[in-house]
Amino acid sequence: MALLEMRGVTKIYQQGKIPVPALRGIDLTVEQGEFTTIFGPSGSGKTTMLNMIGCLDKPTSGTIIFDGKDLGKLDKKGLAQLRRYNIGFVFQSYNLIPVLTAYENVEFALRLVNRYDKKQLKERVLQILADVGLAGLENRRPNELSGGQKQRVAIARALVKEPKLVLADEPSANLDSKTSEEVLEVMVKMNQELGTTFIFSTHDPQVMEYAHRMLEVRDGLISEDQRRDRSHVSD
């Protein structure tokens, strides 16, 4: 079943009186459980596309269907609800809350979905932090963590609520190759066990290695859509 369908999606920004098209008519179907990367040069429309998929922005024209719901028909509240329960985000700039510890930053996302009791919640948060290699650093605040550690907290925050879709903008940008691999393994595990769909914007060949599908975006259009066997990725 398709988790996401984009039909004729365009996005035009106004810079003063000049219209600047960021997406020129995207047609895309993403199935549940796909591991997709989007790549392309800067300004090609990757981030805009991620924002559209993540229900953060609305298209100028076209239709986006997420999990059977037409996003154009949802109001702000409805879109927020959809993001809350179904989508996890990893941004390049982490955007962690500085007054909260690593544990609390992750706990925050899980509290919002209100799915676990107190004990389960704690176990789940500690588990995901351990999975991304942050065991023992739970009580550190973001200013006490390195860039890579902060990125891992951001990843844990996106994964902890087990969303249907995880969107990540350059998730491995601040990670060394070993950590990057560890984190990707966690994601692959979630992808395989829970059927979580991942869509990444990346230039990192290591991340692309893990993808089922690679979309190249140029000038606001999908210029190449490559599917491939991922049997080389370890289970």
Binding site: K77, R83, F89, N95, V99, F108, L112, R157
Partner: protein
């Protein structure tokens, strides 16, 4: 619950800013409490000077006279018979009573003339009701039957009069015929009551009754009780008794006087100050919330991406502001309590401080002025402080929370 925890943590995120904003609120609250205490003190003193020098606790008067009292008519006067005196003396907490005959007059020193209020009094009974005895700056009270008068020092200065000088009062008697009263100045007084200082001329009652041709009638009988708290009940008690003697008679307690209503209105006017103070607090809060929101814009964007509703983000900011309001309120209330406590112990000496006679401005203060404790003001200003902090933050918080998530995330 988690949002509450986050709001509390955010409160200490920029400690200095939180403390500065709280201090502004605290100062505003402290200032209001002191001001309230001072105005309360002034009002209390004005009530006291009204009772001590002008109105006593109760006034027995003809109902028709009371209605036209401002004109100081010589009609609808009353005759105080023995039955009435006996009823008055039986009142609970009775201290004394003094009849007075009030009239309009022009005071002439031979060169200039000023309109004044003449008061025919019985000097033997006057001191049982009024506390003029200790307020003489020169001379003393006259005795019954003497052709003498007592006036305020300020009025005397205006007309360049001294004790021993002769004054003439031009009056109209009951039949509207002009008459004059010539008396020697026996004493000059200075009180916290501007009427006594500027307008009143005290004369022997018998002399005035004769000059005004009103026989043994008086305008009213002023009664003093042990304390003001007894006035209401005593008024009601005496009212019932005198109605049986003459149903035109009426008894009023001090708090029914027009002057008291004016003093209360002045106190109510002070509430305007509260509005100004709360406005200061509101501006401080709006400023703080906007600064915090701008700083945390990316974080707000992230929260929106995580699915937080606008109202949840607003809740975080509003709670933070309420926290600042509570902190500022507590500091303000504690400082205010210390201020009022010191004010009550040491008082404010306007005479020594500014070398100004406050009574000349109509402010009934002679010597030191003390504040009053008003717990209601503490509770009210604290509650309003917190409420205003909370309300003032809603709009800027909503402005931040309603931002487009993409723009918020890419704020920088």
């Amino acid at each position: 619950m988690f949002l509450t925890k986050l709001a509390i943590k955010n409160l200490w995120r920029h400690r200095n800013r939180t403390l500065i904003t709280s201090t502004i609120i605290a100062f505003a609250i402290f200032y209001y409490i002191l001001l309230d205490s001072m105005i309360g003190g002034m009002t209390q003193m004005s009530y006291q000077t009204l009772i001590d020098y002008e109105a006593g606790h109760l006034q027995l008067v003809n109902q028709a006279y009371w209605v036209e009292e401002e004109e100081l008519p010589l009609e609808n006067l009353l005759v105080v018979d023995e039955q009435i005196i006996s009823d008055i003396e039986k009142l609970k907490g009775y201290r004394g009573s003094s009849p007075e005959l009030n009239f309009q007059a022009l005071l002439n020193n031979g060169i200039n003339e000023l309109p004044v209020i003449g008061k025919g009094i019985d000097p033997e009974r006057f001191d049982d009701v009024f506390f003029l005895e200790d307020q003489y700056v020169e001379g003393s009270m006259f005795s019954t039957g003497q052709y003498q008068a007592v006036i305020g020092k300020r009025l005397a200065d205006l007309l360049q009069l001294e004790v021993g000088d002769y004054i003439t009062l031009l009056v109209k008697d009951k039949n509207k015929t002009f008459n004059t009263i010539d008396v020697e100045l026996a004493g000059l007084v200075h009180t916290g009551n501007p009427n006594v200082n500027n307008n009143f001329v005290y004369l022997p009652l018998g002399l005035v009754q004769q000059a005004l041709n009103v026989d043994n009638q008086v305008s009213k009988v002023i009664i003093r009780l042990e304390n003001a708290g007894l006035a209401k009940q005593a008024a009601s008690e005496l009212r019932d008794k005198v109605k049986g003697i003459d149903n035109r008679l009426q008894v009023y307690s001090w708090d029914e006087l027009e002057a008291v209503a004016v003093a209360s209105a002045k106190q109510a006017g002070a509430q305007l100050m509260l509005v100004i103070i709360l406005l200061i607090a509101a501006i401080a809060i709006v400023n703080t919330v906007i600064l915090a929101a701008l700083e945390r814009m990316e974080e707000i964007g992230m929260m929106k991406a995580m699915g937080l509703q606008v109202k949840e983000i607003v809740y975080i900011f509003v709670l933070e502001s309420a926290g600042i309001g509570i902190l500022g309120g507590l500091i303000g209330v504690i400082l205010g309590a210390i201020g009022v406590w010191l004010f009550n112990i040491y008082g404010l000496d306007f005479d020594a401080w500014m070398n100004v006679d406050m009574a000349s401005f109509g402010i009934p203060v002679i010597g030191k002025m003390y504040g009053v404790w008003n717990p209601q003001a503490f509770v009210m200003v604290f509650s309003f402080g917190v409420l205003v902090s909370l309300l003032a933050s809603i709009f800027p918080a909503y402005w931040a929370a309603d931002k487009d998530p993409v723009k918020a995330i890419n704020h920088r």
